[in-house]
Protein backbone atom coordinates (compact mmCIF):
# COMPACT_ATOMS: atom_id res chain seq x y z
CA UNK A 1 0.00 0.00 0.00
CA UNK A 2 1.04 3.56 -0.69
CA UNK A 3 0.87 6.23 1.97
CA UNK A 4 0.90 9.88 1.03
CA UNK A 5 3.27 11.72 3.37
CA UNK A 6 4.30 15.15 1.98
CA UNK A 7 6.40 15.95 5.02
CA UNK A 8 9.40 18.26 5.15
CA UNK A 9 12.44 16.07 5.90
CA UNK A 10 14.23 18.75 7.88
CA UNK A 11 11.13 19.63 9.89
CA UNK A 12 12.82 18.87 13.21
CA UNK A 13 15.69 21.24 12.41
CA UNK A 14 13.38 23.88 10.95
CA UNK A 15 11.05 23.91 13.95
CA UNK A 16 13.96 24.57 16.30
CA UNK A 17 15.32 27.21 13.93
CA UNK A 18 11.95 28.97 13.97
CA UNK A 19 11.89 28.87 17.77
CA UNK A 20 15.36 30.42 17.83
CA UNK A 21 14.33 33.18 15.41
CA UNK A 22 11.38 34.05 17.62
CA UNK A 23 13.50 34.06 20.76
CA UNK A 24 16.19 36.29 19.21
CA UNK A 25 13.58 38.70 17.92
CA UNK A 26 12.05 38.96 21.37
CA UNK A 27 15.45 39.42 23.04
CA UNK A 28 16.54 41.89 20.34
CA UNK A 29 19.63 39.92 19.38
CA UNK A 30 21.16 39.79 15.90
CA UNK A 31 22.62 36.38 15.03
CA UNK A 32 24.73 35.86 11.92
CA UNK A 33 25.97 32.54 10.57
CA UNK A 34 29.48 32.74 9.14
CA UNK A 35 30.14 30.14 6.46
CA UNK A 36 33.30 29.56 4.43
CA UNK A 37 35.97 27.03 3.51
CA UNK A 38 38.69 25.97 5.93
CA UNK A 39 41.31 28.70 5.76
CA UNK A 40 39.09 31.38 4.21
CA UNK A 41 39.69 33.58 7.24
CA UNK A 42 36.50 33.16 9.27
CA UNK A 43 38.20 33.28 12.66
CA UNK A 44 40.45 36.19 11.66
CA UNK A 45 37.35 38.04 10.44
CA UNK A 46 35.77 37.43 13.84
CA UNK A 47 38.88 38.65 15.65
CA UNK A 48 38.97 41.93 13.74
CA UNK A 49 35.21 42.39 13.94
CA UNK A 50 35.15 41.79 17.69
CA UNK A 51 38.09 44.17 18.21
CA UNK A 52 36.19 46.93 16.41
CA UNK A 53 32.77 46.38 17.95
CA UNK A 54 33.29 45.07 21.46
CA UNK A 55 33.28 48.50 23.12
CA UNK A 56 29.89 49.37 21.60
CA UNK A 57 28.09 46.02 21.44
CA UNK A 58 27.95 43.04 23.71
CA UNK A 59 29.03 40.14 21.61
CA UNK A 60 28.83 36.39 22.07
CA UNK A 61 30.28 33.68 19.85
CA UNK A 62 29.29 30.13 19.02
CA UNK A 63 32.27 28.28 17.56
CA UNK A 64 31.52 25.25 15.43
CA UNK A 65 34.53 23.02 15.09
CA UNK A 66 34.81 19.43 13.92
CA UNK A 67 37.26 18.33 16.57
CA UNK A 68 39.41 20.99 18.26
CA UNK A 69 39.04 24.09 20.41
CA UNK A 70 41.72 26.03 18.47
CA UNK A 71 39.38 28.71 17.10
CA UNK A 72 37.57 29.17 20.41
CA UNK A 73 40.94 29.61 22.14
CA UNK A 74 41.91 32.33 19.67
CA UNK A 75 38.89 34.35 20.75
CA UNK A 76 39.32 33.88 24.50
CA UNK A 77 41.52 36.98 24.75
CA UNK A 78 38.48 39.22 24.21
CA UNK A 79 36.78 38.12 27.40
CA UNK A 80 33.42 37.56 25.72
CA UNK A 81 31.08 34.59 26.16
CA UNK A 82 32.05 31.75 23.81
CA UNK A 83 30.40 28.37 23.43
CA UNK A 84 32.28 25.70 21.53
CA UNK A 85 30.31 23.06 19.65
CA UNK A 86 32.41 20.09 18.57
CA UNK A 87 30.48 18.31 15.87
CA UNK A 88 32.56 15.11 16.14
CA UNK A 89 33.11 14.86 12.42
CA UNK A 90 29.78 16.26 11.27
CA UNK A 91 30.13 18.80 8.50
CA UNK A 92 27.67 21.46 9.70
CA UNK A 93 25.84 22.88 12.70
CA UNK A 94 22.15 22.16 13.30
CA UNK A 95 19.61 24.21 15.18
CA UNK A 96 19.34 21.87 18.16
CA UNK A 97 22.95 22.45 19.19
CA UNK A 98 22.57 26.20 18.55
CA UNK A 99 19.57 26.30 20.87
CA UNK A 100 21.60 24.62 23.62
CA UNK A 101 24.48 27.02 23.05
CA UNK A 102 22.24 30.10 23.17
CA UNK A 103 20.92 28.92 26.55
CA UNK A 104 24.43 29.52 27.92
CA UNK A 105 24.31 33.23 27.08
CA UNK A 106 22.62 36.08 28.92
CA UNK A 107 20.56 37.07 25.88
CA UNK A 108 18.92 39.99 27.68
CA UNK A 109 22.34 41.61 27.68
CA UNK A 110 23.61 40.45 24.29
CA UNK A 111 23.48 42.45 21.05
CA UNK A 112 25.15 40.25 18.45
CA UNK A 113 25.82 36.51 18.30
CA UNK A 114 28.35 35.35 15.74
CA UNK A 115 28.20 31.69 14.77
CA UNK A 116 31.32 30.38 13.09
CA UNK A 117 30.08 27.36 11.21
CA UNK A 118 32.20 24.33 10.32
CA UNK A 119 34.60 25.08 7.44
CA UNK A 120 32.60 23.88 4.45
CA UNK A 121 30.74 25.57 1.58
CA UNK A 122 28.13 22.87 1.02
CA UNK A 123 26.44 21.45 4.10
CA UNK A 124 26.12 24.52 6.37
CA UNK A 125 24.13 26.25 3.61
CA UNK A 126 21.44 23.56 3.81
CA UNK A 127 20.60 23.97 7.49
CA UNK A 128 18.73 26.91 8.94
CA UNK A 129 20.06 27.48 12.45
CA UNK A 130 17.74 30.39 13.21
CA UNK A 131 20.18 33.08 12.09
CA UNK A 132 19.07 36.39 10.61
CA UNK A 133 21.72 36.21 7.90
CA UNK A 134 24.15 33.77 6.40
CA UNK A 135 27.50 35.40 5.63
CA UNK A 136 29.62 33.75 2.95
CA UNK A 137 33.36 34.19 3.47
CA UNK A 138 35.68 33.40 0.60
CA UNK A 139 39.31 34.27 -0.04
CA UNK A 140 40.89 35.14 -3.38
CA UNK A 141 43.30 32.19 -3.08
CA UNK A 142 40.34 29.79 -3.38
CA UNK A 143 39.54 30.93 -6.92
CA UNK A 144 36.76 32.93 -8.58
CA UNK A 145 34.66 29.88 -9.43
CA UNK A 146 33.31 29.25 -5.94
CA UNK A 147 29.88 30.93 -6.41
CA UNK A 148 29.25 28.79 -9.49
CA UNK A 149 30.36 25.62 -7.73
CA UNK A 150 28.49 26.26 -4.48
CA UNK A 151 25.44 28.21 -5.65
CA UNK A 152 23.17 27.54 -2.68
CA UNK A 153 25.40 29.34 -0.16
CA UNK A 154 25.85 32.41 -2.34
CA UNK A 155 22.14 32.44 -3.17
CA UNK A 156 21.08 32.14 0.48
CA UNK A 157 23.66 34.56 1.92
CA UNK A 158 22.70 38.15 2.70
CA UNK A 159 26.33 39.29 2.66
CA UNK A 160 29.58 38.05 1.12
CA UNK A 161 33.06 38.79 2.27
CA UNK A 162 35.93 38.49 -0.19
CA UNK A 163 39.00 38.13 1.99
CA UNK A 164 42.77 38.27 1.34
CA UNK A 165 42.35 40.83 -1.47
CA UNK A 166 45.92 41.97 -0.74
CA UNK A 167 47.06 38.70 -2.34
CA UNK A 168 45.02 39.02 -5.52
CA UNK A 169 48.00 39.93 -7.73
CA UNK A 170 49.64 36.60 -6.86
CA UNK A 171 46.59 34.61 -7.95
CA UNK A 172 44.55 34.00 -11.13
CA UNK A 173 41.43 35.33 -9.42
CA UNK A 174 39.26 36.92 -12.13
CA UNK A 175 37.34 39.68 -10.35
CA UNK A 176 34.94 40.61 -13.20
CA UNK A 177 33.94 36.96 -13.64
CA UNK A 178 33.49 36.56 -9.91
CA UNK A 179 31.30 39.69 -9.72
CA UNK A 180 29.21 38.55 -12.67
CA UNK A 181 28.60 35.10 -11.21
CA UNK A 182 27.44 36.71 -7.96
CA UNK A 183 25.18 39.13 -9.83
CA UNK A 184 23.34 36.36 -11.65
CA UNK A 185 23.11 34.19 -8.53
CA UNK A 186 22.08 36.81 -6.01
CA UNK A 187 21.53 40.38 -7.19
CA UNK A 188 20.62 41.53 -3.67
CA UNK A 189 23.84 40.36 -2.05
CA UNK A 190 25.88 42.89 -0.01
CA UNK A 191 29.54 42.49 -0.97
CA UNK A 192 32.65 43.48 0.96
CA UNK A 193 36.30 43.17 0.01
CA UNK A 194 38.97 43.16 2.65
CA UNK A 195 42.18 41.82 4.09
CA UNK A 196 41.38 40.68 7.59
CA UNK A 197 45.00 39.88 8.39
CA UNK A 198 46.06 43.44 7.52
CA UNK A 199 42.89 44.85 9.07
CA UNK A 200 42.11 46.70 5.82
CA UNK A 201 38.74 47.30 4.21
CA UNK A 202 36.50 46.19 7.08
CA UNK A 203 34.52 49.47 7.34
CA UNK A 204 31.76 48.46 4.91
CA UNK A 205 31.22 45.16 6.69
CA UNK A 206 31.20 46.79 10.13
CA UNK A 207 28.69 49.40 8.93
CA UNK A 208 26.52 46.65 7.46
CA UNK A 209 26.52 44.88 10.84
CA UNK A 210 25.64 48.08 12.69
CA UNK A 211 22.81 48.96 10.29
CA UNK A 212 21.51 45.39 10.27
CA UNK A 213 21.63 45.26 14.05
CA UNK A 214 19.62 48.46 14.46
CA UNK A 215 17.12 47.46 11.76
CA UNK A 216 16.49 43.97 13.09
CA UNK A 217 16.28 44.84 16.79
CA UNK A 218 13.96 47.85 16.66
Amino acid sequence: MEIKVMKNILNANQNKADEIKEQLLEKKVLMVNIIGSPGAGKTTLLEKTIESLKDTYSIAVIEGDVATDKDARRLQKYDIPIVLINTDGACHLESISIQDALAEFDLDNTDIVFVENVGNLVCPAEFDIGEYAKIAVISVTEGDDKPEKYPLLFREAKAMILNKVDLIEYTDFNKPEFDESLRILNGGLSKFEMSCRKNEGLEGWLNWLKTTHSETTK
Binding site: M1, I9, G187, G188
Partner: protein, 114 residues
Protein backbone atom coordinates in the same frame (compact mmCIF):
# COMPACT_ATOMS: atom_id res chain seq x y z
CA UNK B 1 28.13 14.80 3.26
CA UNK B 2 25.00 16.30 4.77
CA UNK B 3 23.18 13.52 2.89
CA UNK B 4 23.74 11.25 5.91
CA UNK B 5 22.09 13.74 8.20
CA UNK B 6 19.17 14.05 5.78
CA UNK B 7 18.81 10.27 5.55
CA UNK B 8 18.71 9.98 9.34
CA UNK B 9 15.84 12.45 9.36
CA UNK B 10 14.07 10.48 6.62
CA UNK B 11 14.36 7.22 8.55
CA UNK B 12 13.00 8.84 11.71
CA UNK B 13 9.94 10.05 9.80
CA UNK B 14 9.51 6.73 7.96
CA UNK B 15 9.60 4.78 11.24
CA UNK B 16 7.13 7.19 12.82
CA UNK B 17 4.66 6.81 9.97
CA UNK B 18 5.12 3.03 9.75
CA UNK B 19 4.26 2.80 13.43
CA UNK B 20 1.18 4.92 13.01
CA UNK B 21 -0.02 3.03 9.92
CA UNK B 22 0.92 -0.40 11.23
CA UNK B 23 3.36 -1.22 8.42
CA UNK B 24 5.72 -4.15 8.88
CA UNK B 25 7.98 -3.53 5.90
CA UNK B 26 8.72 -0.64 3.56
CA UNK B 27 9.39 -1.25 -0.13
CA UNK B 28 9.77 2.30 -1.41
CA UNK B 29 10.39 5.82 -0.14
CA UNK B 30 9.76 8.63 -2.65
CA UNK B 31 11.29 12.07 -2.21
CA UNK B 32 10.77 15.46 -3.80
CA UNK B 33 14.05 17.37 -3.96
CA UNK B 34 14.29 20.96 -5.14
CA UNK B 35 17.14 21.65 -7.56
CA UNK B 36 18.44 24.42 -5.29
CA UNK B 37 19.39 21.74 -2.79
CA UNK B 38 22.87 20.40 -3.29
CA UNK B 39 21.90 16.76 -3.11
CA UNK B 40 24.05 14.18 -4.84
CA UNK B 41 21.73 11.27 -5.79
CA UNK B 42 24.45 8.61 -5.56
CA UNK B 43 25.49 9.79 -2.12
CA UNK B 44 21.86 9.79 -1.01
CA UNK B 45 21.34 6.22 -2.24
CA UNK B 46 24.55 5.08 -0.59
CA UNK B 47 23.68 6.78 2.69
CA UNK B 48 20.17 5.35 2.61
CA UNK B 49 21.40 1.83 1.98
CA UNK B 50 23.90 2.11 4.81
CA UNK B 51 21.60 3.73 7.35
CA UNK B 52 18.49 1.67 6.58
CA UNK B 53 20.21 -1.65 7.42
CA UNK B 54 18.35 -3.35 10.22
CA UNK B 55 15.48 -0.88 10.10
CA UNK B 56 11.98 -1.31 8.72
CA UNK B 57 13.25 0.22 5.45
CA UNK B 58 16.06 -2.33 5.11
CA UNK B 59 15.09 -3.45 1.61
CA UNK B 60 13.36 -0.27 0.47
CA UNK B 61 14.15 1.58 -2.73
CA UNK B 62 14.82 5.31 -2.50
CA UNK B 63 13.19 7.23 -5.32
CA UNK B 64 14.17 10.86 -5.96
CA UNK B 65 12.19 13.27 -8.07
CA UNK B 66 13.89 16.62 -8.72
CA UNK B 67 11.85 19.83 -8.80
CA UNK B 68 12.95 22.65 -11.13
CA UNK B 69 13.65 26.09 -9.65
CA UNK B 70 10.59 28.22 -10.37
CA UNK B 71 10.84 31.97 -9.92
CA UNK B 72 8.49 34.91 -9.68
CA UNK B 73 9.89 38.28 -10.76
CA UNK B 74 8.84 40.98 -8.30
CA UNK B 75 9.51 43.71 -10.87
CA UNK B 76 7.46 42.50 -13.87
CA UNK B 77 5.47 39.55 -12.41
CA UNK B 78 7.02 37.16 -14.93
CA UNK B 79 7.34 33.51 -13.89
CA UNK B 80 10.16 31.38 -15.20
CA UNK B 81 12.38 28.37 -14.53
CA UNK B 82 16.02 28.95 -13.56
CA UNK B 83 18.71 27.26 -15.63
CA UNK B 84 22.42 27.24 -14.80
CA UNK B 85 21.75 29.06 -11.53
CA UNK B 86 20.97 32.30 -13.34
CA UNK B 87 18.65 34.21 -11.04
CA UNK B 88 17.95 37.05 -13.45
CA UNK B 89 14.50 37.70 -14.93
CA UNK B 90 14.42 36.55 -18.55
CA UNK B 91 11.93 39.27 -19.40
CA UNK B 92 13.13 42.44 -17.63
CA UNK B 93 16.59 41.59 -16.27
CA UNK B 94 15.63 42.22 -12.63
CA UNK B 95 17.30 40.28 -9.82
CA UNK B 96 14.48 41.09 -7.37
CA UNK B 97 12.98 37.61 -7.40
CA UNK B 98 11.06 35.23 -5.19
CA UNK B 99 11.66 31.50 -5.30
CA UNK B 100 8.35 29.65 -5.76
CA UNK B 101 9.64 26.10 -6.12
CA UNK B 102 12.99 24.34 -6.03
CA UNK B 103 13.82 24.41 -2.32
CA UNK B 104 11.86 21.25 -1.45
CA UNK B 105 13.19 18.46 0.65
CA UNK B 106 10.09 16.40 1.16
CA UNK B 107 9.04 12.79 1.68
CA UNK B 108 6.30 12.47 -0.92
CA UNK B 109 5.06 8.98 -0.09
CA UNK B 110 6.08 5.59 1.19
CA UNK B 111 5.04 2.15 0.06
CA UNK B 112 4.90 -0.87 2.33
CA UNK B 113 3.04 -3.86 3.65
CA UNK B 114 0.87 -4.18 6.74
Amino acid sequence: MHEFSIIENILTIVEEISGKEGLTSISKVSLLIGKMRQIVPDTMSFAFEAAAKGTIADSAVLEMEFVPIKIHCNACENEFVVHNHTYVCEQCGSTDLSVLEGQELIIKNIEGER
